[in-house]
Subunit: 346 residues, 2 copies
Amino acid sequence: MLTRSAKRLLGRTLPRYHNEAPLKPAHLSSILYLQRSNTPLNGDCSGLPKGISKKESFCGHRMHSTTGFRVAEPLQLGMTEMVPDLVPLPSDIRYDDLVITTSKRLQAKPRLDATTLKFGAVYTDHMLQVSWKDGLGWTAPSIDPLGPISLHPCAQVLHYAVECFEGMKVYKGKDGQLRLFRPEMNMDRLARSAARLTLPKFDKVELLECIKELVRVERDWVPDAEGFSVYIRPTMIGTHPFLGVGPTREAMLYVILSPVGPYFPSGLKPIKLYVETENVRAFSGGVGNYKIGGNYAPTILPQLRGSHLGCSQVRDLSITSLYHLVVALPESPFAARFPALSNAQH
Amino acid sequence: MLTRSAKRLLGRTLPRYHNEAPLKPAHLSSILYLQRSNTPLNGDCSGLPKGISKKESFCGHRMHSTTGFRVAEPLQLGMTEMVPDLVPLPSDIRYDDLVITTSKRLQAKPRLDATTLKFGAVYTDHMLQVSWKDGLGWTAPSIDPLGPISLHPCAQVLHYAVECFEGMKVYKGKDGQLRLFRPEMNMDRLARSAARLTLPKFDKVELLECIKELVRVERDWVPDAEGFSVYIRPTMIGTHPFLGVGPTREAMLYVILSPVGPYFPSGLKPIKLYVETENVRAFSGGVGNYKIGGNYAPTILPQLRGSHLGCSQVRDLSITSLYHLVVALPESPFAARFPALSNAQH
C-alpha cells in the first residue's frame, strides 16, 4: 500500500533527500519502506526493493526497539548500495504520510451514564502512533487498531520515567460539530515537556492534524450529551534500551481516546478535601511546571490517605498552593492540620 | 510441564487454598495453570482441565495485561464450577514455583575492555519475571530468554511513572565464587519504593532466592577481572490499563542482568564536576529517598549541559548537598556560579 505522499512523489523531486534528481519507481519502493518502517515483522514484503530478501531485511531486529525502524535500517543499507546519492535527512511528523488501518472488530459504545462511565477505563477502537530515532527522525504516523506496545525491558520509560503526556477533550456541539478546545496550547506544552526530558521535537501543526484525523475516525464515539466528551491522551515515551541515565535516542508518540462523563458525576456540590501536609508535590527548581509522568506517581498514596477519610480530592500544601483560601471549620477533623499551613507561611 | 511445587503437592493438602481436602490430579492441573498463568497465548494447552476448551480459556484476554493472568481468570471461573470449594488466596512470590526456560540462542560474551564495555548497553540472555494482580497476588516466577514486554498503551507506568528499581552487583572472587553485596538491603529498599507508589508487597527472601537462581543461570557472564561485575536491575512497574491516577491493580516485577566494567574507566582520577544551580533534584517532603523512576528523568538535561562543558558528573545544589565541601578555583568558569550556593545557605 502506498502512502498518499508516496503516490504524489512519483516522478517528482523529493526535497527531504539530499539529491534532487527525479524519482523513479525503484527509489519510491525504498522510500515507502523507510516511511513505513513500523511495518510488523510479519508484514507484507511484496514491495521490497530488488536484491533485498525478506530474510536479510528482517533478520536480527526482533529486540531492537518498539515498533519503529525495525525494517528501516537494513533497507536503508541496501538502498544506499543501490542508489548511492539517496541519503535520507531526519524526517518530521507529516500528516500527508499518515496511514490508516481500521479495526475489523469494533466495540459496542458504552452507556452514557455519569455514574458508571469511569474516567479513563474505556478506550476507543483505534490509536495514533509514530516512532522516532536519533538521526533518522520520525517514521510515518499511522492510525491502527488499539493494540499492545512492545518494549525492550531496558527501555528508558520503564526505569527513568522518560515520559510526558497531554490531556485534551473533543466535544460534540448542539450543531453536531466536533470541537477541540485550544488544542495548539496542548501541542505547545507537550513540546515543552518533551524538551525537558530530552525527548524529540516534532511538528506541532502536523501532529495536531493527525490527532484530528484520529478523532474523525472515532467520531461515533463522541457522546451527544451535556457534560460528556472524548478525552484525548497524547503520550510520548523514551524507548531506547539503555540502562545508563542519558539522553533519549529512541522514542514513541501515541494517542489514545477515552469517552468520559462529567468530572464530578454528583454535580458541582461542595466536596471534601484532604489537606496533605507530608508530600510536597511542586517546589522551586523542580519540574512541577511540566506534564511529565514522575510528577504523578508520588500523588497516589496521599490520594489513598484522603480517600480513607472520605475525601474526594487532595489539597496539596506546596508553596504555590498558599494563595488559595482554605477555611477549616472548628469541628472539622482537619482543623488540627492547619498549624502546618501556618508553619509554611513563616 | 509441572512446577517443582506442583509435583510436591500431588496427594497432599494445599495450605494456600481455603479447603484442606487432599488434592486430586484434576485439581492439580487447575492449580498448575493458575500458577503458570503467564503462559503465552500460543502455549501448550494439553494440561487444561476437562470441560474447558482452549478457545474459551484464551478468548478475549489479548489486551488484558502484560504477561500475567491472561489464562488465570477464565480457568479460575471454570475451575470454581468444577471444584466449588477450591478458591485461591492471593499468593506471594515463591522460589519453589520458579519455572526456568533456557534460551537456545546464547549470545557471545563481550570483550572485557573497560573503555568499550559501556554501562547498561549489553544484557545477558535471560530475565526473571513475575506478575501481580490485586486480589490474586503473584504468579509463579519464571526465568525466560530475554524478550520484549508487551504493555497496554494505557498502562500506568507509561503515563504516571509507577515504576521503581534497584541496582545490585554480583562479583566473582579470586576463589571463583560469586558474591552479592548486601542484597537483602536492596530488597528492603525495593519494598519501600514499591510501597510509596502503591506497588505490591512481595516476599523479599523468596525474590532474592529467585534472583540468585537467575545469577546461577547466567554465571558464565560474570567477568573474572578486577573492576568488572554483572549489574543486576530488579524493576517493578504498574501495568494496570487505567488513565485515572489511582492505586496499582496490576504490576510486573522483572530482573535483567548487564555485564559492566569499572564505574570510572580512567581510574580514580580527579574529574570535572558541573555545578547544577537550576534543577533541584531532592527536597524536603519530596520522594528523593525512594529509588523511583520519576527522580531520574529530570536529571538528564542538567547532565547534558555539564557534558557540553566537558564535565563527567553533575553536582546538584539541593539542600542535602550543602554538607559537601566544594572548592572553586578562581580561574574556573564555574566560579561565577557560586553566588547561588551562598544564596541557598541563607
